[in-house]
Amino acid sequence: MRSAGATIPAVGRTSRISLPALAASSLVLVTTALVFVFFVAPNDANQGFSQRIFYFHVSIAITAYACFAGGAWKALRHLWKRDPRADLESYVWVHQGLIFGTLVLLTGSIWAKISWGHWWLWSEDQLVLFLVLFLFYCAYFMLRFSVDPGPQRANLSAVYALFGVVLIPVSFAAIRLAKNLIHPVVFTRHGPNFGGWMLVTYCIAQVAMLVLAYTLYRLELSGKRLDGRLRELKEVLV
């Protein structure tokens, strides 16, 4: 009989920051961001109160990009360095990216409804881009769950995740090009100068969302690792 300890790597601590500390700091940051968004930041001169969704919408969008980039980076590490943990890490990053991407679509849609009276506007570049990315990364999940776990699944997922980061700029360029074609009138937002408390609030919201994403990533990752380890232990015991 094999000894369990020799074959199974410990779930243990792989990062310097502990998960409870991360969770606490993201709670504090998100609360601070909420306070700033609702009580400190001034009302927008044009759009009034509803403009406040901007702080979440934009910071969530940047966070989603960061998650997709993280997924692609881990995918590259898997293909290049054959890092055994990179496959799962890449998947969890993409998963978080998809969650935040869905939030971008929702907040963007709400904002569009309040500002322009429509739930969906094809002339909003970022929103359309996120729809394309949403479809793309949903396909990533379809791909991943239709292959049995193993090196092949890791390779296919990694290659497809790498396609994603190439698709982001290419799609963005394409959407810009298409807009000249289909929508000659471009929506422009003439807000007040972006500065002072607005900038501070935005920065806090941005940091809060990034830390929150990282916390969720670590949480899901440790859960998935624990799950994997439990399965291996069961196999050893049987």
Partner: protein, 212 residues
């Protein structure tokens, strides 16, 4: 030099298979004509330039998907892919050979489909045809790559459109733009850049798709 010979041999194998079995090309032709007829009845009587051009691109994309879905099926059914991977040639040659063969099928289908489109709907412009040609390269490069991925999964043909369509949106933008914009130059350049970019990525990463 051997690389070119390998690619040539692989592409020739696919063309020969098609010539003997005639599985894919007749299906693609029939499909594209049927699509035109369906579109004729789903569009207003005299479709605008934009609507007709959009129709052309939908037809091209789905016809290509039909061919791409079958691209790696013979290899999978006869278990040839393992042999090809073991063969002493660069793995990317498998992708390149298959892409060239698929491109030949798609081009052959379009030699019939484009004049029919001109006959049924609107005459074609030179830049539109050039756009179609450039888009074909991108469609076949990316589609063959994704076809090789999809064929190894449980979902098989079901998965290919899901994987492919988000990546094909830039192609559609470029192609439609090349057909209807006043200055089609930038759309053609965009298509060319797309082709080059994705061809290089597919070429470089195909090895990971077929090997473990």
């Amino acid at each position: 030099m051997t690389y070119v010979r390998d690619v040539g041999a692989l592409a020739r194998k696919d063309l020969l298979l098609e010539l003997r079995a005639r599985d894919t090309l007749p299906a693609m032709l029939l499909f594209v004509v049927a699509t035109f007829v369906v579109f004729h009845f789903s569009l207003p009587a005299h479709p605008s330039k934009l609507a007709a051009s959009g129709l052309l691109w939908v037809a091209i994309l789905f016809t290509a998907l039909l061919g791409l879905g079958r691209a790696f099926l013979p290899e999978q059914e006869q278990r040839v892919l393992d042999g090809l991977v073991l063969a002493p040639c660069d793995r990317s040659a498998i992708w390149l050979g298959k892409s060239l063969a698929t491109l030949a099928f798609l081009a052959a289908a379009q030699v019939v489909a484009l004049p029919l489109y001109a006959l049924f709907f609107r005459p074609l412009t030179g830049s539109q045809v050039l756009g179609v040609a450039l888009a074909d390269v991108g469609i076949c490069a990316v589609g063959t790559f994704l076809g090789a991925m999809a064929v190894t999964t449980r979902a098989r043909e079901l998965l290919l459109p899901l994987l492919f369509l988000p990546l094909a949106i830039p192609i559609v933008v470029g192609g439609v733009g090349a057909g209807v914009a006043a200055e089609p130059g930038r759309y053609l350049v965009f298509l060319l850049l797309y082709d080059l970019l994705f061809a290089v990525i597919c070429w470089a990463s195909f090895e990971y798709v077929v090997s473990e």
